[in-house]
């Protein structure tokens, strides 16, 4: 239930953001993250973005994240 997925914000319209996660895009509610902006990576839980992922920390701690973030970069 708490399996939260990381995704990148592509576009914001009011409370809704279009996010992309490994090539799949969908709409999520961002009312719990008033400061979220386009380009941020967020954790999505049951249709809501619940926290912004700190990219620097992510890169520092994990090869996995490096791979993930590389895969998300525009080619």
């Amino acid at each position: 239930m708490c399996l939260a997925i990381p995704a990148k914000i592509i576009e914001i319209t009011k409370n809704t953001a279009k996010v992309e996660s490994l090539g799949v895009s969908k709409d999520v509610d961002i009312s719990l993250l008033p400061e979220a902006k386009v380009g941020d990576f967020v954790i999505v839980h049951a249709g809501f973005a619940i926290q912004v992922i700190d990219e620097e920390e992510a890169l520092k701690t994990h090869e996995y994240w490096k791979e993930y973030l590389d895969a998300e970069k525009p080619k």
Partner: protein
């Protein structure tokens, strides 16, 4: 990755104290990650990873399950719930049974699905079964606010939402199981931050590490717990820094407490815990299914052989339940711990059935 994992394991062996160490994880996703990645086998024998009350579906009391089933049985409504709830056995039947007998039960991915349905179908009574810890409670809060803004008269919530820290205190006071360290939940902490756990090192001198979900996260968190033990410096440490901030998500916390207020809640295995539940505030009463749809008295009857209560407290492991993998399997579950994708019994059944304890 494998290299740094091995490095952590060899460091763990170096600082490993010469006594049994019980480390409790309080998050169903951690439970699954431990089983799936075979983490138990990586650590020295004296390090015992035990599951606590971290699976929201599993800790929901039988009384609440029966209450939900009674409402669903007696009223004509569109029900929305997360998939894990469907097969949880009540005293007599499950939501799945009621669905088979024609009740309109929809599995939803997001609470928003329930709200959107209610908005588009103003003549249909719609009930969202709200379950989960601090990670999910703000989502329910947001949809309730929208329901209010939209003046909905056909939308209702059954809240079984709970907060985690009071349950940890109960476990520590109970002392039936000695806990040497907590792996604190990642996404609950993404919302509440690290400060609500401060009482654990301060009052009980027990280390807490808020951990992520990758094998590396969890191994390095176990390492940190052992380091705190050997240094005799218990504290709340955030390993999952990329997501968890000290103050959590203040907006989400604000949303929770603008709609809910703390209440007593019944936990399976742990009993009634003061201040551990979230019930709807006075100003949201019109959405509360508990008062809007009264039911006759509920007499929950636990299955005599099911040890879920003990498993949720870390007193027993799933394979120590007499019914495990015999009468109770994911196909024919007897307790919620075998149903939920985050339940300990389900995790053991799927990944550790044939391994060592």
């Amino acid at each position: 990755m494998q290299k740094s994992l091995n490095k952590y394991i060899s460091d763990i062996k170096k600082i490993n104290p010469d006594r049994p160490i019980n480390i409790m994880e309080v998050c169903g996703t951690h439970t699954m990650a431990i089983s799936r990645n075979g983490l138990r086998q990586l650590f020295p024998e004296n390090i015992n990873l035990i599951s606590g009350p971290g699976c929201p579906v599993c800790v929901t009391s039988l009384k609440d399950i029966d209450w939900i089933l009674e409402i669903v049985k007696n009223y004509d409504m569109q029900i929305f719930t997360f998939g894990d709830m469907l097969r949880v056995p009540g005293s007599k039947n499950s939501l799945q049974d009621l669905k088979s007998s024609g009740k309109k039960i929809n599995v939803c991915y997001s609470p928003m699905d329930a709200l959107n349905f209610a908005i588009s179908n103003p003549k249909k009574l719609t009930l969202f079964i709200a379950i989960g810890f601090e990670t999910t409670a703000p989502l329910t809060a947001v949809i309730l606010k929208r329901a209010k803004e939209n003046n909905l008269n056909n939308f209702f919530v059954f809240s079984t939402h709970k907060v985690v820290p009071p349950a940890l205190e109960i476990l520590l006071e109970d002392r039936k199981v000695k806990i040497d360290g907590f792996l604190c939940p990642g996404h609950v902490s993404a919302i509440i931050g690290s400060t609500p756990y401060n009482f654990i090192p301060e009052k009980y001198e027990i280390p807490c590490v808020i951990s992520g979900f990758e094998p590396m996260d969890m191994v390095s968190s176990v390492h940190s717990i052992l380091k705190q033990i050997t240094d005799k410096k218990p504290e709340v440490e955030i390993q999952y820094k990329r997501v968890v901030k000290k103050n959590g998500n203040p907006e989400a916390i604000k949303q929770i407490y603008s709609v809910f207020e703390p209440s007593n809640a019944d936990w399976r295995g742990l009993g009634k815990i003061p201040g551990s539940g979230l019930c709807l505030k006075e100003s949201y009463q019109k959405f509360d299914s508990k008062t809007k749809f009264p039911v006759k008295s509920i007499k929950p009857k636990e299955h005599p052989g099911c040890d879920c209560g003990k498993i949720l407290k870390g007193i027993k492991k799933p394979n120590q339940c007499k019914l495990f993998a015999k009468a109770c399997t994911p196909e024919y579950p007897i307790g919620p711990c075998m149903v939920s994708s985050e339940g300990s019994c389900a995790a053991y059944y799927k990944y550790e059935r044939h391994g060592k304890d």
